[in-house]
């Protein structure tokens, strides 16, 4: 329970069939089990334009994705709305999605990105690597803490 009355949307995305690319959906699965009041959890293979509608219905959105380059275990950063011209129709970047929600649906949501360090991506497989699993666990602990007051801004640039 967030205990703040704020509505938080958590979107974990990635392909669970591509090893550590599944970190986002697995994170979402774990969060969903907690059944936190005021927290909506969603997951998909990738972000898509219709997510803008859900974003517009929340105060905060936290995107959760596997990160190929951040320091372990994770990096928490702000997502500033920004249009990109090159997104494809069936996937969209988090900042472009925030911009779309703002422009089209008058969204006031604040966006954040939780990138969890992954290591293995280049083959088919439905397992998370051991090191990535460790990072995932730390990210879950962090998010549960952050949801207590929803003061996400103070955690920006947090790296585990």
């Amino acid at each position: 329970m967030t205990g703040t009355g704020k509505r938080v949307l958590i979107i974990g995305y990635g392909n669970p069939g591509r090893l550590d690319d599944g970190l986002g959906p697995v994170f979402a699965e774990e969060m969903e089990k907690l059944e936190l009041e005021g927290v909506t959890v969603d997951s998909n293979y990738q972000l898509a334009v219709e997510d803008s509608a859900a974003i517009a219905e929340h105060d905060y959105v936290v995107f959760v994705d596997a990160d190929i380059s951040c320091p372990a275990p994770f990096r928490f950063s702000r997502v500033v709305p920004k249009h990109h011209m090159s997104f494809s129709s069936h996937s969209i970047s988090a900042d472009a999605l925030m911009a779309m929600a703002e422009d089209l649906l008058s969204s006031k949501a604040e966006g954040y990105m939780l990138g969890i360090r992954g290591y293995e991506f280049n083959e088919f497989g439905e397992r998370i690597s051991q090191n990535a699993r460790r990072n995932l666990d730390e990210a879950l602990v962090f998010m549960k803490q952050a949801l207590k007051d929803c003061d996400f801004a103070k955690y920006v640039n947090r790296q585990g």
């Binding site: 669970p16 803008s52 779309m100």
Partner: protein, 476 residues
């Protein structure tokens, strides 16, 4: 033969997945050929080997995040054959159809509103800073919202029929694992009429654009071709099931009501040294003449009629433009795609009003088989899934022919036509770049699916001479 220069465009923006285009020039600077190259990440067929057959309809969704439902359903249909389920229960078949129409609807709508509409609304030569989805949001916000909401509705249909948006489990060998509850039905029905209204509007935009620009479009990446799709027994368009029909560019039936379990008797796949994608063709016609187009244009061309009233009127208007003959314009894909959007919306309403969706009889089984083929008309065209299963229930062979692969030759040809018309010298102009993209985008290719690829590529255009030296280069 003279020396050849090569112009490379990579990848194609606003197209799913990866690709780059090479335009080959002779020593006089004339276009001789265009090739769409794909970066390959193969291995899925091998990945699936050894897995139990009942897992496959779920596992295949890992192929690609863009149209997982199509793979889910094609695999489930193949596994129906494995478990001897020759005829599904009405509830099972209608639930699968609803899932499939939801998928088609959201995919087509999103492609049209968010990829194609900038070209149609602003024109190919408009300032690139405006000719994009941002420009549409600013100038036509209501259309951009419609695109989002139509996509969202289709995703809700998928969620409620497949169980969830990611790794849906709705279709299982021999049937489905859930029906549609009354509250779920009512949740979808409340928005259905609005969705149909928006579909009408999208169809009008596509039709008006094509008719108004017919002279230009007649010479834009257009060429005669055969068309292939599934067709219902009575000749109606059927996106979920049927026999294989192929017509030539004049509309003559070359193949009709062919049982797709035997597809490998008539279709083979050629490998070329310059592309990782395979090139399917009709065996009897050979590699030179046996290629064909698939997807919305082909489906509207092959169908004798559409069994929903408003889409049928739209089909008749579409066919009237060519005097009843097949329409071979590459850019007519958009019009055909929006006819299918309206058809999918009408079909979803029809299904939602059918009490069979609340039935309890979900699964049938029969005599176990060792081999099965499942075909479906995915949003981008005919999708083939073929499996062999051993006595231990493990998959021993998997072969997929995805829609974009079937459109491989046509996309190359469309690019070649555009390049021959618009390339002047070796300079890669903005106009050429966008027209090449427009031609490829008409096919709505899902290149990541076609090649099982990962990641993204920038769009770069290069001119390479016969010695392999880059003499011009441009990126988007």
């Amino acid at each position: 033969m003279g020396a050849t220069k090569k112009i490379i465009i990579e990848p194609v923006t606003r197209v799913e997945g990866h690709g780059k285009v090479s335009i080959l020039l002779d020593e006089n600077g004339q276009v001789t050929r265009a090739r769409l190259h794909i970066v390959e990440f193969r291995g899925f067929e091998r990945f699936i080997q050894g897995r139990p057959y009942w897992e496959v309809p779920v596992t295949v969704q890992r192929l690609c995040g863009i149209c997982p439902v199509s793979h889910h359903l094609a695999a489930a249909k193949a596994m129906d054959v494995i478990v001897g389920a020759d005829k599904l229960t009405p509830t099972a078949e209608k639930m699968r159809r609803l899932m499939h129409y939801g998928q088609t609807y959201q995919s087509h709508a999103l492609h049209f509103f968010h990829l194609v509409s900038p070209d149609l609304l602003f024109g190919f030569d408009a300032d690139p800073a405006i000719r994009n989805i941002i420009g549409v949001i600013k100038k036509y916000p209501e259309l951009a919202v419609q695109g989002v909401m139509m996509r969202k509705f289709g995703q809700e249909v998928i969620r409620l029929t497949a169980g969830k948006k990611i790794h849906g489990t709705g279709a299982i060998p021999g049937g489905i694992n859930k029906n549609l509850s009354i509250p779920e039905r009512d949740f979808l029905l409340k928005d259905m009429d609005q969705q149909i209204e928006w579909s009408r509007g999208a169809l009008k935009i596509a039709m008006d654009y094509t008719v108004e620009h017919l002279e230009d479009l007649s010479d834009f990446g257009a060429f005669d071709s055969s068309h292939l799709s599934l067709i219902r027994e009575d000749g109606a368009m059927d996106l979920y099931d049927g026999g294989i029909r192929m017509i030539d560019s004049e509309g003559n039936k070359i193949i009709d009501h062919f049982d797709y379990q035997n597809y490998s008797d008539i279709i083979a796949e050629e490998v070329k040294d310059w592309s990782y994608m395979k090139f399917p063709f009709i065996k009897d016609m050979g590699t030179e003449n046996g290629w064909y187009r698939v997807g919305p244009l082909s489906r509207v061309n092959t169908a004798d009629f559409i069994d929903t009233p408003e889409a049928e009127i739209a089909r008749q208007e579409f066919k009237a433009l060519t005097g009843g003959k097949p329409n071979n314009l590459t850019m007519a894909y958009h019009w055909a795609r929006m006819i299918e959007v309206l058809h999918a919306a009408e079909k979803m309403k029809e299904l939602l009003l059918d009490d069979d969706l609340q039935g309890e009889d979900l699964v049938v089984k029969g005599e176990r088989r060792s081999e099965g083929v499942g075909l479906i008309e995915a949003p981008r065209g005919t999708l083939f899934h073929h499996y062999k299963v051993n006595e231990d229930d493990q998959v021993t062979m998997c072969n997929l022919i995805v829609s974009t692969t079937s459109n491989n030759v046509p996309m190359n040809l469309a690019v070649e036509k555009v390049a021959k018309k618009y390339l002047s010298g070796t300079e890669i102009t903005e106009g050429l770049l966008n027209r090449v993209e427009v031609a490829i985008r008409a096919y709505d290719p899902c290149l990541s699916c076609a090649t099982h690829a990962l990641g993204k590529m920038p769009l770069t255009v290069s001119v390479v001479d016969h010695n392999g030296q880059i003499v011009d280069k441009r990126s988007t």
